[in-house]
Symmetry: C2
Subunit: 304 residues, 2 copies
């Protein structure tokens, strides 16, 4: 049994709205009680870099994974919002002139454009730091054991062996293109690690067994790969459609992708396989897993 | 009874060496087990930005505070090293062209000079993230309750309401100089927060009473203020001596300091008062507090 696209999308939208509300609360000026201690411009930059829409896929993964295994949804929403803060920090820093040098994101000026370079660096730093604050805060009602595991897993997903490391490997790839194993590792780190954490976090929040946690981790790994593959395909086909050429932005910049290596047909087939594997992993959970299985399909088939 | 300068300095040096050894271990390539997943250049930049000497005052504060209250020294050294990683991240980002634009630090090229701008941003991000990793890791043998408290206290000391916020207020101060209350708040956040955390961390590691923790927190607050005041005095007197003018770099850049506001005589007197208050706070602990009391004097009287 599967869920309808409309039902899935309405649930995803509902969750994005809940995340937005939580972000608004957590990033309001009132969180810093001392008026003197409020760096207004910095907080405005943190809001600018995190409140601007998006599907909020990562918080959704945390909540649905927690729900599957019986975890508390209030805690999952807070942990999901922490993950979103961390994701937004990575976007702010990626957009900086020294990195991807992007002027706009989702139709809005990037943080360094809307504010300034220094403020964008600090806004990213602060959102990264805030992610750990939110998890450890008393308002996140979880056992200390779970908080410690969440902090450790998130730090590993985000640090030199995870997202930031993947970003560094990506910089290096511009001058010396990696082979297939290198591309897979780079992508698993750069985009995969946070998505995998999102799924694993739900298991930690639920205090799940090692087996359940490992299953969710594997599920996250599969959809993380699928997410990147779909991204590479979109990059290629969107460019082909709008720019009349067969190579996309990443390929043009000399970055290897699996699509570039194996072609579109292979990539579409591989994407279907990954999705089937991800769906199959959750089969033992029966109907309860429908929403996460629909998420796997959504990640592979999304058009933006 | 007080401790001799020589005994204090030898202990501080010994602790700096232990911190250096721990940093070398924690930042060795071997911490990332998968060879494919090693962003070598990023890790080299993280080492460049953290292994270059320094007094390692913050880890020393964590260890001595823990020792005073009966906390485990192995755990204190790890937490102190985490704090040092976070401190080094702040130096790397502060040195960036968009911030203070410094080419050298302690006689070495800064990270963005020795590597590149993007790598320096990522090295800072990764050291910040790693600080939370180190605290939460199983190798840091502390109860989960203590780890959660450490993560929360460190995130608050480092984030928008702490160090990063102070840095943002400092940027704003260049165009609209704050009044005395504003200067005090800015400094308490920018430099004070991590020093205060160092002292409080020792109390958390020791599982100390709320009263002991509050005392150490206050002690940290006093010496954090003293640290900044001594810094401002050094800035002024070093410049006066070497550059033949009475205003230092910060003053020249339009940043208000308490020394600039009240003069050198007032500042030296206030520094003595702060030191006396800090020493007095620990008087109830008797001889056990000698090392921390010597640290308060050292912070006020250091010549670099």
């Amino acid at each position: 049994m599967t869920i309808s696209d409309a039902a899935f999308e309405s649930r995803l939208k509902e969750s994005a709205a809940a995340t937005q509300t939580m972000l608004l609360t957590l990033l309001s000026d009132a969180v810093l009680p001392d008026e003197l201690a409020r760096p207004e411009r910095l907080m405005a930059a943190m809001r600018h870099g995190s409140l601007n829409g998006g599907k909020r896929l990562r918080p959704f993964l945390v909540r649905e994974s927690a729900l599957l295994l019986g975890g508390d949804d209030d805690a999952a929403l807070r942990v999901g919002t922490a993950l979103e803060c961390l994701h937004c920090y990575s976007l702010i820093h990626d957009d900086l002139p020294a990195m991807d040098d992007d002027d706009t994101r989702r139709g809005q000026p990037t943080v360094h454009k809307a504010f300034d370079y220094a403020t964008a660096i600090l806004a990213g730093d602060s959102l990264l730091t805030y992610a750990f604050d939110i998890i450890a805060a008393p308002e996140t009602q979880l056992p200390d054991r779970a908080k410690t595991e969440l902090v450790l897993a998130l730090a590993r997903a985000a640090g030199a062996g995870g997202m930031a490391g993947g970003q560094a490997l990506d910089l290096a790839a511009e001058t010396s293109p990696p082979d297939e194993a290198g591309i897979r590792m780079l992508q698993a780190m750069k985009t995969g690690a946070l998505i995998r954490f999102g799924c694993e976090a739900g298991a930690i929040i639920a205090g799940a067994s090692a087996h359940d946690r490992q299953t969710l981790r594997l599920f996250g790994q599969k959809i993380g790969l699928a997410f990147q593959l779909a991204d590479d395909l979109l990059d290629l086909t969107a460019d082909a459609a709008t720019m009349g050429k067969a190579t996309g932005k990443d390929a043009a910049r000399g970055k290897g992708t699996l699509v570039g290596l194996h072609g579109i047909d292979w990539a579409e087939k591989h994407l279907d396989e990954l999705t089937a594997e991800a769906v199959e992993l959750l089969a033992p959970y029966g109907e309860k897993a429908m929403m996460l299985q629909a998420t796997a399909r959504f990640v592979a088939n999304r058009q933006n």
